[in-house]
Symmetry: C2
């Protein structure tokens, strides 16, 4: 008798509906403007039903963010499995990251928010665990690429610590997106380009500094960027600008 299973499936579907709708609203107006009364009306359930699924507003936001992190993991997996030199594979992670931030411009500020103590502490333990495992998966793909880079002699761990490089790249990405979401910082550019426009250039500055071969003086990473877009993310990029 599959009644329990069917019910569970329905519950799952309902939850996904809630998460998807909350995602839309978050994309629209951000966390502080997210109103559960409004969301309840939108999904045509009562607010109390929402609280049947999520322990708090924060818990709901964590669920949305976990979904985003799943997608990031998918993109990084593709990058990791890509048949290319290690430096191209790590670059592909960056391109996937950038793609995600175009598809879901609010994903960066959400994951910041969710990892801050005041939000995190109000989330349920199961959802915290799930988010952590999704995030772990993202890091595991990075680490694998770093490991291969050393194994394949593209990177000398004596010259630059692989873990350091990982944190450098993550910092660059997070920082650039942060600046991009900031209302004041952008203004200090004298050119029209801003932190996010320079992100890939700065990746390569850092990787050149670490002497991760091939250096950007040896190959043209602008062309390689195009190649990676086509090889790994052609559908997604095509769908971006309709």
């Amino acid at each position: 008798m599959g009644v329990t299973e069917r019910k569970e499936r329905e519950r799952q579907l309902r939850e996904e509906l809630f998460i998807a709708e909350a995602d839309l609203m978050l994309a629209e107006n951000g966390y502080l403007a997210l109103n559960l009364d409004e969301l309840a009306k939108q999904v045509e359930y009562s607010k109390a039903t929402l609280y049947n699924h999520f322990t708090s507003k924060e818990d709901l936001v964590l669920a949305v963010t976990t979904k985003h992190m799943q997608t990031r993991g998918d993109y990084f997996e593709r990058a990791n499995l890509y048949q290319a030199p290690s430096r191209e594979r790590i670059f592909a992670c960056g391109i996937g990251d950038r793609l995600l931030s175009r598809q879901l411009p609010h994903s960066f500020s959400l994951s910041q928010l969710v990892c801050s103590p005041s939000i995190w502490s109000k989330c349920s333990a199961p959802r915290q665990k799930l988010f952590e495992s999704r995030e772990e998966r993202v890091f595991a793909h990075c680490s694998k690429i770093l490991y291969d880079a050393v194994a394949q002699n593209d990177l000398d761990p004596q010259k630059a610590d692989p873990e350091q490089i990982t944190w450098g790249l993550v910092s660059l990405s997070k920082g650039s997106h942060l600046i991009n979401n900031s209302l004041t910082l952008e203004q200090h550019s004298t050119s029209e380009r801003s932190a996010l426009d320079y992100l890939f250039d700065n990746y390569h500055l850092l990787l050149d500094g670490a002497q991760w071969r091939p250096l950007s003086s040896e190959v043209d990473y602008r062309n390689i960027e195009q190649k990676i877009r086509e090889d790994l993310f052609s559908q997604e990029f095509a769908a971006l600008n309709p």
Copy 2:
């Protein structure tokens, strides 16, 4: 008759008291836990008096953050006026930045917060202007150092765009602090060191990538870090660990 002046001075002092107390409370428990009823009790004024000074809770937080930005500007000014090669001066900015984040560990998340649309839009125009000018001052000191680096032939603008480098360094700093404040990200380190511990190493990776002379293969920036601490920030660092 200096009655108006005296009153203005008293008002100013009162405001500083409010800001200082709010700063303490923010350092303690963060933005979401900041309660204006509690703050009013603490400073022994009514909440309505607080609203006589600040148009909203957000406006108060912006005032706190502006004070922090003033200090950052002071540190960057010191770095800019330092009699040393350009690369040491830009490094000194990084050291000042890091110092500030030790003195005021909450300053980073506050300035993030304040520049997000939902907060920024609830602040008064005069305080927005003030914050922007404080931030502008910080950038102006950076730009001056970049300009000098090119003028003194330490940096070739053909190889790496000075504006790009600025954004790279700012991204690295913001990103590392962001990670440091995140409850989940830190866990993915296999060593005990984390993003912030690697920050200066990554600065130098980036600056080496940009070929900003002297390269870290030519001089020992660990020693230079000690020198800068003593030359520019000795008092502040001494006061840090009581």
